[in-house]
């Protein structure tokens, strides 16, 4: 709290993600040097942590490595969808560089050169000052790049220990997943029977293996099968929840995901 008081009110917050420890630490050190007021609110060691941290901290600015396990930096940026400026951090030789150059995307090369970092930061500051200036075509380019990267293993069956038995749950039967401490609660309906199970895979890891078109993340801790959504109900300015078909459960929709339900 005392630290917060010391911070200038306009201090921006940043997320740094790199799956290797040394380059991540190097970037953090270089950022502290080049932009002392920037608060680094989260450091992520893989793509799923990066996305989770973005949801949790809502940083003003992200530095994403491209090749990361779980979700790639491209995947994370695609999910951020231009809501926060992204600076990619990558080593020379990455296939994405050509696309970045063509699309005027901000990036810095590893090992980080302080001068180049300064130039990239100057551009980002401009972008932060006028938030509307998201490069056009960025999202389309990210979609295309994401398709070129390695295919994500599509999960079809989940194994869950329930008592003494190990249940095999078809992903197609799942209604929703909910984060529950270090576990994930799987709510499913198979052959007319409703069931629930706890699995050890954290929700943030699970989401990287699910088909995005069928399973919508609506909250940092909720992923729901879109076929089971009955309605999205706006409670007040910031609050929205989902009702499900044939169920009493209500699922929260956090602000970042309310754009999914625009009510055309």
């Amino acid at each position: 709290l005392i630290l917060d008081v010391k911070m200038p009110a306009c201090a921006y917050s940043a997320l740094v993600a790199d799956d290797e420890e040394a380059p991540r630490a190097a970037l953090v050190a270089a950022l502290r040097q080049a932009w002392p007021e920037l608060r680094i609110v989260a450091q992520a060691a893989n793509g799923v942590d990066a996305w989770d941290a973005w949801l949790e901290h809502q940083p003003d600015l992200c530095f994403l490595d491209i090749r990361m396990p779980g979700l790639t930096g491209i995947d994370v940026a695609r999910r951020i969808a231009g809501r926060t400026p992204v600076v990619f951090v990558t080593a020379y030789g990455d296939h994405a560089l050509a696309a970045f150059d063509a699309g005027a995307v901000d990036y810095v090369l590893k090992p980080v050169d302080p001068l180049r970092l300064g130039q990239a930061l100057a551009r980002v500051r401009q972008r932060l000052a006028s938030p509307a200036a998201t490069p056009t075509g960025l999202q389309a380019m990210l979609e295309q790049l994401a398709g070129q990267l390695r295919p994500v293993p599509a999960l079809d069956v989940i194994q869950a220990a329930v008592g003494k038995e190990v249940r095999l749950i078809r992903v197609a039967d799942v209604v929703y997943f909910e984060a529950d401490a270090r576990y994930t609660r799987v709510v499913y309906t198979a052959d007319g029977d409703d069931g629930e199970a706890l699995i050890r895979t954290p929700l943030k890891e699970l989401l990287a293996q699910l088909d995005e078109r069928a399973f919508w993340q609506v909250h940092r801790s909720v992923i729901v099968s879109h076929l089971h959504i009955a309605a999205a109900v706006r409670v007040d300015e910031g609050l929205m929840h989902l009702t499900l078909r044939g169920r009493d459960d209500k699922l929260p929709v956090s602000r970042q995901f309310q754009g999914l339900f625009k009510g055309l």
Binding site: P23, A26, P153
Partner: protein, 376 residues
Amino acid sequence: MDTLNSLRRLKASLTRRPRTDALSPEDRAGLARRNAWLLSWHGWPAWLAGVLLSWATTGALVAFGWPLAPALGGGLPTGPLIVWAWTTSWFVPRVVPGKHWRFKLWWAVAGAAIMLYWAYDHVHTVQGWQWTLAPLILFGVFLLSFSEFLFYRAGMLSAQRERDQLRLTQEREAAAHRATEARLKLLQAQIQPHFLFNTLASLQHWVDSGDARAAPLLRSLTAFLRGATELMHRDEVRLADELPLAEHYLAIMQARLGERMSSTVQVSDAAGQQALPPGLLLTLVENAVEHGVEASLHEVAVHIGAAADASGWQLRVSDTGPGLVPGWREGVGLANVRERLLHHFGERACCSLRSAEPGTLAEVTIFPDTPVVPAA
């Protein structure tokens, strides 16, 4: 002065540019072949034809009443000229324009011969040695066509030989080119800029922050680069020679990835003596690290194993990573491995990549050169 100038011009025109420069390389080669042919003993009919034609023309001119000196001046060059034109036309067809040049030439010579013969019969001044002239001319023409036959037979044979030689050379050059290219590609693939710069990024940070991990990483990187450049230029390496390279690579990745990776190596002495195309083991290890370790959210173990027995030997590189994704496609690295195995061992080698529980297993099996004979 004028004479001197025209002499200079003449000299200049003679020395400026040999006429053969205007010819295509093919024609120049043809001229060289003609000269070589004329100077070899195969060219005897042409020489003889030249002598006979000179003799006969001189004789004919004398028979027509020319004094001896002009007759010699006109008759002696005729043979060499005809032989020169004729042989040139064989070797350098393009020098003589026209589609049916050889028939024309033939008819011209035959016509000249007939006219000479007719002249003898009518002039009736033939006396002494001159009665032999007409048969000599005909014999000369026959010799020319005979030598043309000889030449074409020899020419076709040598052209065939040359074509074979050329094809062989081209094939050999193409193969050498492909091999060099494969090696370069291999070297490039082995030392990817991405790998290098990522390693340098860690190194830079540890140097900057005075971390003790910098020195061993730099040593591993140096050893890896040295080993890679040395090994990739060989035709084959013993597994035991490439193993240190793979271990340097693993040491670098271990330093970079820390607890995310562990590795073990188990290669028997007999397997270590076996030869492989260079870079093969390294490619498999890199694949395991890139697709197994780096793609995984959890700790992954990489294992290199090799064993030999009577039925051949086997190299296995496995990882406990996410395994093969449904719908995965074979990458450049593995395709390269297959190609080089095929090139090196033919049907004796096979390579497979499959899901292990958990992770992925790459397996290369080399069967012995001679089929194993079961003991009686």
